[in-house]
């Protein structure tokens, strides 16, 4: 099948061609902006890149104006080595050690294909951590499902848990905590959030930037296939004469074994000093990696798309640009180091190809079959996307919701009623033991897990000699957040903070995963702005900075949004893990004290 890609020359020669920007999720004003930036219509390849990079998921266009508060209200701290904006924040924990941690959502994919959706959620967050130069040391998984007895929960939950276990266990990362919450509001929108924490020496921090004109851009890991590019088919159908392209799957399949090799290979090339800049490939794949690397560096890059190792040779260039194939990384390597880099990839049996080089043109230029199909200023793709001040207003129903306080509920009166109430509470899925979930996760691997399930926070030993360690907890009560998003977010923070402090660790830093409905709904946007403000204020009061996080919008079915669910993760440091405190009462006869009101 011979086809001609839409080149820059074509875009200039045929300026008025209709383009399916709306199908790709771009608004008319956004499309107009792209034309203005380029001074011409975009090629289909450029349109593919802008559409994925300017999506809500990649550009944070609705949340940016609010998230600024995390920076504006950042408490005085000298523990942050790398702040918000990088793949993950890096926190100094002393003795020359640092840790990096982040939580991300994989909600919608997990609803469509629970096992693979959840598995690739773990895979994605782990690559964020290794791209900072850190060795991953533990994972956590805050989960939300619909009613426990709903048939669709029976489809979704076992798959999600098996997927998280299947991927995390196979990577050899202990699972040290998480949440399992049931509520009708998540019936069509389960929340699968995944957290990873990694450790590194201060000198090993790496950033995603392409510096050094003449340095090479190397793509390594799995081959690129047609995963997760439902959208790109629209573009391809434009350029196919007959029939249209093959239908591409919207889901990705993970290969944890490949990811394990990728971890070892990446840490080895980093420690050998062979890498100038590094970036994981997640959402938006090569579009994201090349534009972000170029945008953070000298600003220029030339890529030869024909060099990308493919699993499926029918892929169009637009599809290659958008593919979300898992288990891939991109590195910037000096020509002198290339041979050593390739040797380490060969040792780990990891595919690897030079796909381009760093230039000083200030442009990201991508070629296909010798013709230029992309020629853009990388910043406009990666960083200067649209920003929206979405309208928001306190929902009309908020007052009546708050007015319905529990004082109107019937109280158990007799001993029999109290007994029944207690039994109902104990037997309710939200309060019952979660062992049936956590028993499917390896919590022992690596041999540094000091606390895990059923403790309120996980504790991991970082340094075997000194006993230095970290504690982590993730928390959120979506019902509180619905009643009062500002205080609900503060409560989530306070709970995670207490859980970490109760182990004996000193809380140091915060990450978050903000799960909400549609930002185009002013009610939801109000919840969001309130929650962000509450979290930022709470962090300022407690004196610990937000180091990063993730926003997941559009968790709603029709008009009905999930409860606002700002999941908060707190990380603390403990000088000697042997001094940690567990939940259990240890010795008969000890006094029991209650602190606080």
């Amino acid at each position: 099948m011979s086809r001609h890609a839409d080149t820059v020359a074509d875009a200039i020669a045929h300026p008025e061609r209709e383009q399916p920007y709306a199908e790709l999720g771009l608004k008319p004003n956004e499309y107009a902006d792209i034309r203005e930036i380029l001074g011409r219509r975009p090629t289909s390849g450029e349109l593919a890149m802008y559409s994925v990079m300017w999506s809500e998921h990649c550009s944070y266009k609705s949340s940016k104006v609010h998230l600024k508060q995390f920076g504006d209200k950042k408490p005085e701290t000298d523990t942050l080595l790398v702040g918000i904006g990088e793949n993950a924040g890096v926190v100094d924990i002393g003795q020359g050690w640092a840790v990096t941690f982040k939580v991300e959502s994989h909600n919608h994919p997990s609803y469509v294909e629970p096992y693979q959706g959840a598995a690739t959620g773990i895979g994605g967050i782990v690559r964020d951590i290794i791209s900072m130069g850190a060795r991953p040391i533990a994972v956590m998984d805050p989960l939300r499902f619909g009613a426990a007895d709903h048939p669709d929960t029976h489809r979704v939950l076992p798959g999600v848990v098996a997927g998280i276990g299947g991927y995390g266990n196979c990577l050899g990362l202990p699972n040290i905590g998480g949440e399992v919450v049931f509520d009708d509001c998540y019936q069509g929108n389960p929340l699968v959030n995944a957290l990873c924490v990694g450790k590194l020496r201060h000198e090993d921090i790496h950033l995603a930037s392409a510096r050094g004109v003449g340095n090479l851009v190397v793509l390594y890991g799995a081959k690129t296939g047609g995963d997760g590019i439902g959208g790109a088919s629209i573009l391809a159908s434009e350029t196919f004469e007959d029939g249209g392209p093959a239908k591409r799957p919207a889901v990705q399949v993970g290969d944890p074994f490949m990811e394990k090799l990728l971890i070892e290979c990446t840490l080895e090339v980093l420690h050998a000093g062979l890498v100038e800049g590094i970036q994981d490939l997640g959402a938006a794949g090569i579009s994201c990696a090349t534009s972000e690397l170029a945008s953070n560096g000298e600003g220029g890059m030339r890529v030869d798309l024909d060099k990308v190792p493919l699993r499926d040779h029918t892929l169009t260039p637009e599809e290659i640009l958008m593919s979300e194939s898992q288990e891939r990384m991109a590195a910037v390597v000096t020509p002198d180091n290339l041979e050593a880099f390739l040797a380490i990839c060969a040792k780990w049996d990891v595919d690897c190809a030079v796909i381009g080089e760093v230039t000083d043109t200030g442009r990201l230029v991508i070629e296909w079959h010798g013709e230029v199909i992309v020629d853009v200023p990388p910043r406009t793709v990666a960083h200067d996307g649209p920003v929206y001040e979405r309208p928001y207003a306190r929902p009309s129903w908020q007052d009546s919701l708050q007015a319905a306080d529990p004082s109107s509920l019937a109280r158990p009166a007799s001993a029999e009623e109290i007994r029944e109430t207690v039994l109902r509470l104990v037997g309710s899925p939200n309060l019952a033991s979660k062992t049936w979930v956590t028993a499917q996760y390896d919590r022992y691997v690596l041999g540094n897990t000091v606390l895990a399930q059923p403790e309120d926070a996980g504790v991991i030993r970082v340094d075997e000699e000194s006993g230095l360690g970290v504690a982590l907890s993730t928390d959120c009560n979506g019902r509180f957040a619905k009643l009062d998003p500002y205080n609900g977010a503060k409560l989530a923070l306070a709970e995670a903070y207490r859980n970490v402090a109760a182990t004996g660790a000193v809380p140091l830093a915060v990450t978050n995963c903000l799960n909400f409905g549609s930002p185009e709904d002013p009610d939801v946007m109000w919840q969001f702005s309130q929650a962000v403000t509450g979290l930022a204020d709470g962090c300022l009061e407690l004196g610990i900075p937000v180091t990063g996080g993730n926003v997941s919008f559009y968790n709603q079915t029709g008009e009905v949004a999930i409860h606002p669910t700002p999941v908060v993760g707190v990380l603390g440091v403990i000088q000697d893990v042997a001094a940690r405190t567990t939940m259990a009462f240890r010795t008969a006869g000890d006094a029991v004290l209650v602190l606080g009101e």
Partner: protein, 224 residues
């Protein structure tokens, strides 16, 4: 004494096995799956994990790794070898031990603190336990059900080659509650549970697992 720990692509508990060797007082030597020889080690641990992703069958691909050639020869010649979890699966696939390990009967991966009874102390890896001693060590597997035909099971029992049995709860449907077995000579032992995760009070449920590593070191010292 130098104890080799083999790393296959996808091995996960290799660092833990090496740590256990060190805590027991030995020297841990890293062996790579592509190695052509065993670097003169005195014993070998095949660690847990997901070698080659556990694709195909657990241990099926690792069995053909270059290092397995000299290892199988040495084991047949009496070199002490301990296979833990995935390592046990590799030993069965290599026919150094009889039987096979299949999908857990409940179909889930399971991670729990498992009570075991030590049934045989005449192997190279269990000599510092008492017969009938009860220990608790972590267990974590998705394909840990031990199966073999009746004649093989009877033979293992008759020859005292059942090394450890599950107590209280059979976590995976293993025939006759078998958690570990040895070859006839007692130098090769395969074990589903993870003694290397029970060598420090801080990180394990107990330190009951240390005995496997002290057994081998004591035996080697006495033999030398």
């Amino acid at each position: 004494m130098r104890i080799g720990v083999v790393t296959f692509p996808g091995s996960l508990d290799d660092q833990d096995a090496a740590r256990a060797v060190r805590i027991a007082g030995g020297e841990a030597v890293t062996l790579w799956h592509g190695d052509a020889d065993l670097h003169g080690v005195d014993a070998v641990v095949l660690p847990g994990g997901f070698s080659y992703g556990d694709y195909l069958r657990c241990g099926a691909i690792a069995r053909f790794a270059p290092v397995m050639g000299p290892l199988v020869d040495a084991a047949n010649g009496g070199l002490p070898v301990l296979g833990i979890c995935n390592g046990f699966q590799v030993l069965c696939e290599s026919h150094l031990l009889p039987g096979a390990l299949v999908r857990n009967d409940h179909l889930h991966f399971i991670c729990r603190d498992q009570k075991l009874r030590i049934e045989s102390t005449s192997t190279a890896w269990t000599s510092s336990y008492e017969v009938g001693q009860e220990i608790v060590v972590p267990l974590k597997n998705g394909e840990g059900g031990y199966v073999a035909d009746e004649a093989t099971l009877d033979l293992l029992e008759a020859e005292g080659r059942v090394v450890a049995r599950y107590l209280d709860l059979n976590p995976n449907g293993s025939r006759r509650d078998i958690a570990g077995i040895s070859n006839a000579r007692g130098n090769v032992v395969g074990l589903m549970p993870h003694p290397e995760h029970a060598v420090e009070a801080l990180t394990g449920p107990t330190t009951d697992g240390l005995g496997f590593f002290t057994s081998i070191l004591k035996g080697l010292v006495e033999a030398s």
